[in-house]
């Protein structure tokens, strides 16, 4: 039995009188890839932002390695080894690639000199680290350097910067929110091989997508969200093809007309 990295228990979150999440529980264990599926407005991104500490839940509990946590925020989440590639990529496009990779952890990678303890940044070592990272994830272009402005990069390259950032800090859990949206086929394949590498190194991934074929190929386990609730948790043994999973989701979508769920996104 693998140990859980993070456990969400009975999480609810509402915005105004709209329930985005209604009593959702989710556990991510070491070394597994969890595929989080659901239609638009199912609550996927809200759940991710709670994992990432951007949102605080209205109710419910968060446990890190079976220890209850309080004061959950984005900084805490990253310190606990959770890195997130957000759907909007969370980049600052007028800044350099180095600045983006180290955003929020600006003094990371510095030597333990007096200046770095005072909060000054060791640009040289960060530049070298960023260069190595970019090579690792397959940035082979000669056109840009770690000092290039992110605003000059293409969509796929920007996604690469966001992924490189998630990779740098040796996270135990990497969350990818719709990482293949608006990417070309080769770029999508790159993201998949990245996920496989992360898994091979014993780390965990939560992969969010609405393309079930993408998610099915990559995940060990699936969690299906619908209108703020978990409607299915299964493995590939339960549903052996993506078509079966799609069939289930269509059933869920149709049953909604007959059984009011008590919460509405509209």
């Amino acid at each position: 039995m693998k140990s859980p990295i993070i456990t969400l228990q009975d999480i609810s979150k509402s915005f105004g009188n709209v329930y985005a999440l209604d009593g959702v529980s989710l556990q991510v264990k070491a070394g597994e890839v969890v595929g989080l599926i659901g239609d638009n407005g199912a609550g996927k991104s809200t759940l991710i932002k709670i994992l990432a500490g951007v949102y605080t839940p209205d109710s419910g509990a968060i446990r890190l390695k079976d220890q209850p946590v309080t004061d959950w925020n984005a900084s805490r989440s990253r310190q606990s080894g959770i890195e997130t590639v957000f759907q909007d990529r969370a980049l600052v496009v007028q800044q350099t690639i180095v600045r983006n990779i180290f955003m929020g952890r600006e003094t990371a990678g510095s030597s333990a000199s007096l200046l770095s303890r005072l909060g000054f940044i060791d640009h040289k070592s960060q530049y070298a680290e960023a260069e190595r990272l970019m090579r690792d994830i397959g940035f082979t272009s000669e056109v840009f350097t770690p000092d290039s402005i992110v605003g000059t990069l293409s969509g796929g390259e920007r996604q690469g910067v966001a992924i490189a950032r998630a990779l740098y800090f040796d996270a135990e859990l990497i969350i990818l929110d719709e990482p293949t949206t608006a990417l070309s086929l080769t770029e999508t394949e790159k993201v998949f091989s990245f996920v496989r590498n992360v898994k091979a190194s014993g780390r965990s991934v939560v992969f969010i997508g609405h393309n079930i074929y993408h998610v099915f190929g990559i995940a060990d386990r699936f969690v299906v969200l619908d209108r703020g609730k978990v409607v299915l948790e299964c493995t590939k043994e339960d549903y052996q093809t993506p078509e079966e999973l799609i069939g289930f989701m269509q059933q869920v979508a149709q049953s909604e007309g007959g059984t009011p769920s008590g919460s509405s996104e509209e």
Binding site: V54, R78, A90, R99
Partner: protein, 327 residues
Amino acid sequence: MAKTMTSITSTSLFIRRNKASLSTLFFLVVMMTCFLIANPKVFTNAAIYNAVFITLPVAIFLVVPLVFTVTGGEIDLSFPSNMAMASWVFSLLIQKGMPPVLGLIVAIGVGMGIGVIIGLIVVYGHLSSLVCTLGFNFFLRGFIMILTEGRSITVLEVQDGLFHNVLAGTFLGLPAQMGWALLFTLICVLVFNRHCYGVRVRCVGDNPQSAEQMGINVNRVRISFFIFVGLGASLAGVFSVLINFSWWPTTGDGYLLTALASVFVGGTPTWGGVGTVVGGALGATIVSFMETGVVAAGLTGFYVQFFKGLIIILSLLAHRYSSKRYR
């Protein structure tokens, strides 16, 4: 061969990274050349430079923190009144016989304290910093006017004292305050470019949602802008009192628009995320020389505003073409 190649690329990199401040410097040189041609006699004499250097530091203490604020995507228009508040407290304490060093510390505390209050109200009240700080500018000025009934304070006590001579005396034939303003600018340049605070200011100004998602405490950074402006305003106020040996209830009033203009003349754009501290200090220099230079060049004082406006418009156009906004 390879060595020259790297030195060429590093020079072009330097130019690319410092485009805004370099074009501001270019602007300053062009303007000074025009003055020099217009009246060589006055502009080859040190007197005119000394005259500008006496009051330029006050502007620099105001402009440099404003560069941080504008880069962070906010604006603070309360600094003229904050400057008056802090220097008012300073003058009163000196009159009561308090050592000037303690007076300075209390004045800084007042300036930063007002910044804390404004920052908390703007951030947690979800207010527009433009309108809220404009309100505070009137409010604090009104508060001063009510309590002083418009009376000024003479602070002759500091004359010839060590405190005055070190901060605002003469050093190597130059006004000592110029050295303090340069030191202040230098520290701020290092903080802006090399310290994690400076980087966070840019990230918050660039995209606050991204900064928040990456664990930066955006509210804390935003509050710090107003505290920093308060620090600059209090220093500007104390130096203004030391230079003039007196405090007026209108202290700082004339700086509102010129200090703001200096930020933008210096090459910091209005949209946040990027900025230049050196450019801001140079912008303040341009505006200060403009005021003195137009008259010294032989024109009447009626031309000052005309040329000031012209310079602001021209420099904005120049920066518009030299800098691109990435989205």
